[in-house]
Amino acid sequence: MSAAAELLSQEFTLGYTYTRTTGPVVGEFLTALRDRKMRGIKGSDGRVLMPPMEYDPVDAAALSEFVDVADCGEVVSWTWVSQPRKAHPSDSAFAWALIKLDGADTAMLHWVDAGDESAMKTGMRVKARWANETKGFITDINGFVPEAVALVADYVESDAELEPISGIECPSYMTYNFTAGKATARYLAQLRNGKLVGQRCPNCANVYIPPRGSCAACGVPTEEEVELSNKATVESYTIVYIPIPNNPIKPPYVIANLVLDGANLSFLHLLSECDNNNVRIGMRVEAVWKPKEEWGYAMENIKYFKPIDEPDMPVEQIGKQKSGE
């Protein structure tokens, strides 16, 4: 049975490298920002919406009548962030604020660099602090400041004829601390000891490796651990001829679905020390482990599988043998 799971955690950063098309309305707004100008749009009821909407929020009519608004206005509501998070636009304490620009009828969200919370007040006047270099993005406004603050403009101006903004790059990166589940942690801990350990379903007796703590077919928890052999059967395979960026393995190479002896479902691994033209379903192979001192919590402890001199397994038997029977 499973002993208490070791806690295996690792930090990782997930990146979504999105690029987005803007459409004409958002594009017009961002193009104006690049020129350090604010543009809203007239809603169906004549009110000026800021930032501009493509469709009226009340009657859903398509909107197109742009209106210039000022780059200063008043704070409608705000909150003070005394300890900014890493992703926030300011490293020092700042305010998020809803700001109604002069000439607009709705407030837009941005941030205010006020120095201290005591400088913030609902109804206070603020003005945009434009970025020295603009690119047609919401951060072209480098926050707002109280209107009385003197700003020194050191703008980078371009003489080039610029196309209107029609697309933006907006990658988003988020950092997580992943903790492996109980079944995965047990599996990885055993792998570090050079052992391949799966879990058996108490209902259908199928053995899963890597285990996930459940039998996906029966929907019951799996607890019983089963140490499996180093030998496996090729269930399926493909020969990769395309070089994959950052992959140290040089093509052509063989990736195979392998069913370990004693297991009932396959996992993916590499096949090597073989004639690629002679790889076949049913072929018998065994694991080639790295030297013990290189073992970690990873399937890479096994360098690859290599063919062994045993008769092929008939296709209909692959993955069908119940080790507990």
């Binding site: 961002l30 509501s77 604020a97 709705t106 941030w111 988020m174 589940g181 996930r212 996906a216 929907g219």
Partner: protein, 352 residues
């Protein structure tokens, strides 16, 4: 509309960090519990399965697909998923039953938010041109909403603290709650500001966990011979994503949903409101037209533990279980999604 019966509901503990538990390990115990309550063997005994979760929370692509490993979907089942709170999975299943495509359904919601920075993760659900690139956190919208209410004299800081004190006190009787205890309003008001005018206790905690529910037609519930509560109606309304066009001091979408579902057509004995921030409970009570005769958030609500993507379904489950236990005859459950109560789903339930 035909009545739909809730026959089983279970929720895990709200844990600040579920550590070495993957989605399957979080979901499976609550599934086993609702099977037991409903007297069924497994997922094969219901006609439809629907879940709610969001992979961004734990940063694992297709975690919602991995979650299906908890079900036992062999032979294949009819299954669906919403990238929303599981209250909306219930809505989908309720519609399936209304249209006669299913007589019974299993629902579950789960979330492991602890691996990421939830207020920042949630910033990425916002408008991708105007808001997401600023990384404006989810607490900020609630804080600006609270300030509007305070400065317009609609609430006081003491009102907010009273909501928190009651939540912590009620949570003492809830074994699954994460934050509980006896606190006075004065004690709470002495705490420092977090994102002003919110103090940390005005904000729900980040919790890991899951919940599950089994619903069916009333005929099926009678066939199964289990006690049940009845869903009389559900309605869901959304407000614009243009934050400046919204009146943040009230919840127009909740008002509309409450009207559509007839909340005011009878006395409401119990209500569970998904108010992730203290002042929002006050907004919601008003929008639903609840008076002091209604017991609100007897479980402690989500200020005592917030299973993102499961808390909405939990509100409905909490009300159903209390009605089954005889704590009232008619109840209201509310679920929310989006910044500053943008989307709201209102359910009216009655005892059998």
């Amino acid at each position: 509309m035909r009545d739909v019966a809730i026959v089983a509901y279970a929720q895990s503990d709200c844990q600040g960090n579920a550590g070495a538990q993957n989605e399957v390990e979080l979901i499976m115990p609550v599934l086993q519990e609702v099977y037991k309550q409903a007297g069924i063997t497994n997922v094969q005994d219901v006609d439809f399965t629907c879940s709610g979760s969001c992979d961004y929370q734990q940063g694992a692509a297709f975690a919602f697909v991995s979650g299906v490993d908890a079900l036992g979907a062999v032979p294949p089942i009819k299954e669906s998923h919403v990238e929303m709170d599981a209250a909306w999975a219930l809505y989908e299943a309720w519609l399936k039953i209304q249209t006669g495509q299913a007589e019974s359904a299993l629902l579950y919601g789960f979330g492991k938010s602890s691996p990421g920075e939830l207020p920042i993760v949630l910033s990425q659900q916002l408008d991708p041109y105007y808001l997401a690139p600023l990384w404006v956190d989810s607490i900020a919208f609630a804080a600006m909403q609270a300030r509007m209410m305070l400065e317009k004299g609609l609430i006081t800081e003491a009102d907010m603290a009273e909501v928190v004190a009651r939540s912590r006190r009620n949570a003492l009787a809830n074994p699954h709650a994460q934050l509980k205890g006896e606190f006075s309003v004065e004690q709470l008001l002495a705490e420092p500001m977090y994102e002003s005018p919110l103090r940390k206790h005005d904000c729900c905690p980040v919790s890991d966990g899951a919940c599950a529910m089994v619903i069916c037609t009333v005929e099926k519930a009678k066939e199964w011979g289990k006690p049940y509560a009845v869903i009389k109606g559900i309605d869901h309304r959304i407000e614009t994503h243009h934050i400046g066009s919204r009146d943040l001091t009230r919840s127009v979408s909740t008002e509309l949903a409450a009207e559509a579902v007839g909340v005011g057509n009878g006395p409401v004995d119990i209500a569970e409101l998904y108010a992730p921030f203290s002042h929002q409970e006050i907004i919601l009570k008003k929008a639903l037209g609840l008076n002091n005769d209604t017991v609100v958030n007897a479980s402690g609500g989500v200020l005592a533990g917030n299973l993102m993507m499961a808390s909405g379904l939990s509100r409905i489950g909490e009300v159903a279980m209390r009605l089954i236990k005889g704590e009232g005859k008619r109840g209201v459950a509310h679920a929310t999604s989006g910044p500053a109560l943008q989307q709201n789903l209102v359910t009216v339930l009655e005892a059998q």
